[in-house]
C-alpha cells in the first residue's frame, strides 16, 4: 500500500472530532457532579441542558465518530487496500459534522432540555432532531463501506477466512444498521413532525418502545471496538497470541444476535407493555451474558499466554510479567476489572423484578458509567495511544503520562461509581438538579455526593491529560518507530471456515425472525389499542 493510500487523514479526522467533543462533555460532567453535591448554586436550566449535552456527546458524537475512524483504519490495514470510495466516507463525515452543529445550536440556545433519550412529549427545537438524524444518516456511509470492503476482499480471496478484525468490524456495522432503525423511525415519523408543528400529538408509548429498540444494542456498538482491541491488540502488544480465532467469531456473532432485541428491559416499569413481553425480553437480555463471559475468558487467556511467554510461572505469576507500562495492556486490565463490577450491576438491572428497586436511581448511571466510561472509553484511550503514532507518523509524546492518565481515569471512575451504587440502593434519583426532599431522608446521601464530585473531577483531569498527550504527539517532530498496525494471531489460525462464520447472511435472517417475534406485537399494539396521543410540551 502506497503512503498516499493510507486512510490516516480520514481516520484521524474522525477521531479528533470524537475526542475534542469528549473533552467538552467531560467538563460538563464535572459541572454536573459539583452541582449535585451542592458545591455550586442550583441553575436548573443549565443543569438539564448540561445533562442533555453530556449524554448526546458521549453516547452519539464521541462513539459514532470514533468507531467510524477506527473502522476505516483497521479495515484498510487488515485488508491491505485503501478505504473504498473515500468521497463517500468524507461525505458521511461532513454530514455528521453538520448534524452535530445543528444539535449544538439547539443546546446552546437552551431549546433542547430533553435528555439524550429525546423524551417525548417534551419537545426540543427541530434542529436538535434533524441534527441527530443527519449524524445517523452520515454514519451509514461508514456502514456501507464496512460491508462493501469485505465483499470485495472475499471476491479477490475466494475461500479465505476474512481477517478477524474485519469480520468483527462488519459485525458492528451490521449491528449499527439494525440498531438505528428504532430511533430513526421515532425521529423521522414522530419527533421531527412534532417539533416542526406538522402534527400536534405523539404516542409516547410507541415512541418509547421504538427508542427501546435502539437503546441497548447501541451499547454493544460502542463496546465492540473495545472488545476488538482486547482480542487483537492486547495479546499482540503484550507479546502473546489470540487464544481462539473461532471462539472470538462466535462471540461477535452472539453479540450481534443476542444484543439486538434486548432494549425492552428499559421498559420494565413502563405501563404500556404487558408482563409477558417483559419476561420474554428479560430472558433475551441474560443471553448476552454468554458472549460477554466468553470474551472475558478468551481475552484473559490471551494475556496469560503473553505473561507465560515472558517467563511468568504459577497460577497468577504471569500477571506480574505482563508489560503494564504499555497503555494497551494496562487499559485492558483496568477495563476488565470495571467490566466485572459493571456486569454484576447489569445483572440486577436486567432482572425482571429486582430492576424495580433500582429503576432511575443512581444505581443505573453507576452501572453504565462502569461499562461505558470504564470498560469502553478506557479502551478507546488505549486505541488512541496505539494509533496516534501510526496515523500522524510521530512517536507518542509520553507513555508515562499515558499510563498515569489511565490510572487516574480508573481511580476517578471507582470513586464516582461506588458511592453511586450505594446511594442508588438508598433511593437517590438520577437526572435531577436538586433533592429538596425531607432532610432526614436526604442526609445519608450527602457524603456520597461529595465523593462523587471528587471522582468526577479526577476523571476530568484525566481527560485533559489525554488530549494534552495526543495534541503534543500530533505536534511533535519525532518520527514514529513503528507505523504498521499489527493484529494478534491465533494459536491455531483458521484455514477454512464454514460460511456462517465468515459472513452475516444467515445471522441477518435469524434477526429478521427474532426481532419480529420480540418487537412485532409490542409495536403493533399501539395501532390496535385506542391510544389518545399526548400533546407536545416545552420545558
Amino acid at each position: 500500500m502506497s503512503e498516499t493510500d493510507k486512510p490516516d487523514g480520514l481516520a484521524l479526522g474522525h477521531m479528533w472530532v470524537a475526542l475534542a467533543t469528549f473533552l467538552l462533555a467531560s467538563v460538563l460532567g464535572a459541572y454536573q457532579v459539583l452541582e449535585r453535591a451542592e458545591l455550586i448554586p442550583l441553575w436548573a436550566e443549565g443543569y438539564y441542558t448540561s445533562v442533555t449535552a453530556h449524554g448526546v456527546i458521549m453516547a452519539y458524537v464521541l462513539t459514532t465518530f470514533f468507531i467510524a475512524g477506527f473502522g476505516y483504519y483497521c479495515a484498510s490495514a487488515a485488508l491491505d487496500r485503501p478505504v473504498w470510495n473515500k468521497p463517500l466516507a468524507w461525505g458521511g463525515f461532513g454530514m455528521m459534522v453538520v448534524g452535530v452543529l445543528m444539535v449544538v445550536y439547539a443546546l446552546v440556545t437552551g431549546q433542547a432540555m430533553v435528555m439524550y433519550t429525546f423524551y417525548p412529549p417534551l419537545t426540543a427545537h427541530w434542529t436538535f432532531y434533524v441534527g441527530a438524524a443527519l449524524l445517523v444518516v452520515g454514519s451509514i456511509a461508514w456502514v456501507v463501506i464496512m460491508i462493501v470492503m469485505p465483499i470485495q476482499w472475499k471476491r479477490d480471496n475466494p475461500g479465505q477466512p476474512l481477517p478477524l478484525i474485519m469480520f468483527s468490524t462488519t459485525a458492528n456495522a451490521t449491528l449499527w444498521l439494525w440498531t438505528l432503525i428504532g430511533v430513526a423511525v421515532e425521529v423521522v415519523f414522530q419527533l421531527i413532525p412534532l417539533s416542526l408543528g406538522l402534527v400536534d400529538t405523539v404516542d409516547v408509548g410507541l415512541a418509547r418502545t421504538l427508542f427501546a429498540w435502539t437503546l441497548h444494542p447501541i451499547v454493544y456498538v460502542w463496546l465492540i471496538p473495545a472488545y476488538q482491541a482486547m482480542y487483537m491488540f492486547v495479546p499482540q502488544v503484550a507479546g502473546g497470541r489470540l487464544f481462539s480465532d473461532e471462539m472470538a467469531r462466535v462471540a461477535f456473532i452472539m453479540l450481534l444476535v443476542f444484543s439486538l432485541p434486548i432494549g425492552f428491559h428499559h421498559l420494565y416499569v413502563d405501563p404500556f407493555q404487558a408482563a409477558g413481553w417483559k419476561l420474554f425480553h428479560g430472558f433475551g437480555t441474560f443471553m448476552v451474558a454468554i458472549p460477554t463471559l466468553i470474551t472475558g475468558f478468551t481475552v484473559i487467556a490471551g494475556m496469560e499466554i503473553a505473561g507465560r511467554l515472558r517467563g511468568g510461572r504459577g497460577l497468577f505469576g504471569w500477571l506480574r510479567t505482563l508489560p503494564w507500562h504499555e497503555p494497551m495492556v494496562l487499559a485492558a486490565g483496568l477495563a476488565l476489572l470495571m467490566l466485572t463490577l459493571g456486569g454484576f450491576g447489569g445483572v440486577v438491572n436486567a432482572s425482571y423484578a429486582m430492576n424495580t428497586m433500582v429503576h432511575n436511581t443512581m444505581w443505573v448511571p453507576a452501572h453504565f458509567h462502569l461499562i461505558f466510561a470504564g470498560t469502553t472509553i478506557i479502551m478507546y484511550f488505549a486505541i488512541a495511544y496505539h494509533l496516534w503514532p501510526k496515523m500522524t507518523g510521530r512517536e507518542l509524546f509520553s507513555r508515562r503520562l499515558a499510563t498515569t492518565q489511565l490510572w487516574l481515569w480508573f481511580i476517578g471512575i471507582v470513586v464516582l461509581t461506588v458511592p453511586w451504587h450505594y446511594v442508588g440502593l438508598l433511593g437517590m434519583p438520577r437526572r435531577t438538579a436538586a433533592m429538596p426532599y425531607d432532610p432526614e431522608f436526604v442526609a445519608p446521601w450527602q457524603s456520597s455526593a461529595v465523593l462523587m464530585a471528587v471522582g468526577g473531577i479526577i476523571m476530568t483531569v484525566s481527560a485533559v491529560l489525554l488530549i494534552y498527550n495526543l495534541v503534543m504527539t500530533h505536534a511533535a517532530r519525532t518520527p514514529a518507530a513503528e507505523r504498521e498496525l499489527r493484529f494478534a494471531q491465533a494459536i491455531q489460525p483458521p484455514l477454512k471456515l464454514p460460511k456462517p462464520m465468515n459472513g452475516f447472511a444467515l445471522w441477518n435472517w435469524i434477526l429478521v425472525v427474532y426481532m419480529g417475534a420480540g418487537f412485532g406485537y409490542p409495536l403493533l399494539q399501539f395501532f390496535i389499542l385506542d391510544v389518545q396521543p399526548a400533546l407536545a410540551w416545552g420545558w
Binding site: P271, Q273, I294, A534
Partner: protein, 161 residues
C-alpha cells in the same frame, strides 16, 4: 471448528450460571407472581378531570371491601396529587396513576413502588408496604425544568385492627 477443552468447560459454567439466574427469575415470576408494573390500559390524558376515576374529588386512598386499599393519584408538573397520602402497612395496596401533561416516574425510596407515568396510559403498582414511617414520593423521570421540585409525602401507618 476447533474449541479448546478448557474453553468447553468454561462455556459449560457460563451456560449453567445463566440458567440458574434465569431459573430464579422465572421461579419468582410464576411461583411468586412477582411482576413489574405492566397493565396495558389507555386513558385520555387531556380529559383526566372528566373521567370518574381521576376527577379531583375521587383522588386519594379508598378502602376496598376485601380489606385491600386503592390509592388513586395524578402526577403533574410539578407534584403528585393528593400531596400527602396515608397507607396502612402489611395491607395489599393498588396504586393507580395518570398524568395530564408529560411523562413522569415515581419512586418511594427503599420500597418497590416505582413506575413510569406516561400520558395516554394508566400505571398500576400492586404491593404491600412493610415498614411504617414517612417517605418522600418523588418524580424519578425527567419531566421539565421543575422536575426536582416534584415530590409528595407518603405516610405508612400500622395496619388497622
Amino acid at each position: 471448528m476447533h474449541v479448546d477443552p478448557l474453553e468447553k468447560i468454561w462455556i459449560g459454567i457460563v451456560i449453567l450460571l445463566t440458567a440458574v439466574m434465569l431459573g430464579s427469575i422465572f421461579y419468582t415470576a410464576f411461583a411468586g407472581s412477582v411482576h413489574p408494573p405492566s397493565n396495558v390500559e389507555v386513558v385520555d390524558s387531556t380529559a383526566l378531570h372528566l373521567t370518574e376515576e381521576f376527577a379531583e374529588d375521587n383522588l386519594g386512598v379508598r378502602d376496598n371491601e376485601d380489606g385491600s386499599v386503592t390509592v388513586t393519584m395524578v402526577a403533574t408538573r410539578y407534584g403528585f396529587y393528593p400531596q400527602h397520602v396515608e397507607i396502612p402497612a402489611k395491607t395489599p395496596v393498588t396504586f393507580r396513576f395518570a398524568t395530564p401533561d408529560t411523562l413522569h416516574g415515581l419512586h418511594i425510596p427503599t420500597t418497590n413502588v416505582d413506575t413510569m407515568v406516561i400520558p395516554g396510559y394508566v400505571s398500576e403498582v400492586n404491593t404491600e408496604l412493610q415498614s411504617t414511617g414517612t417517605f418522600p414520593m418523588y418524580c424519578n423521570e425527567y419531566c421539565g425544568v421543575g422536575h426536582h421540585a416534584m415530590w409528595s409525602r407518603v405516610t405508612i401507618v400500622p395496619p388497622k385492627g
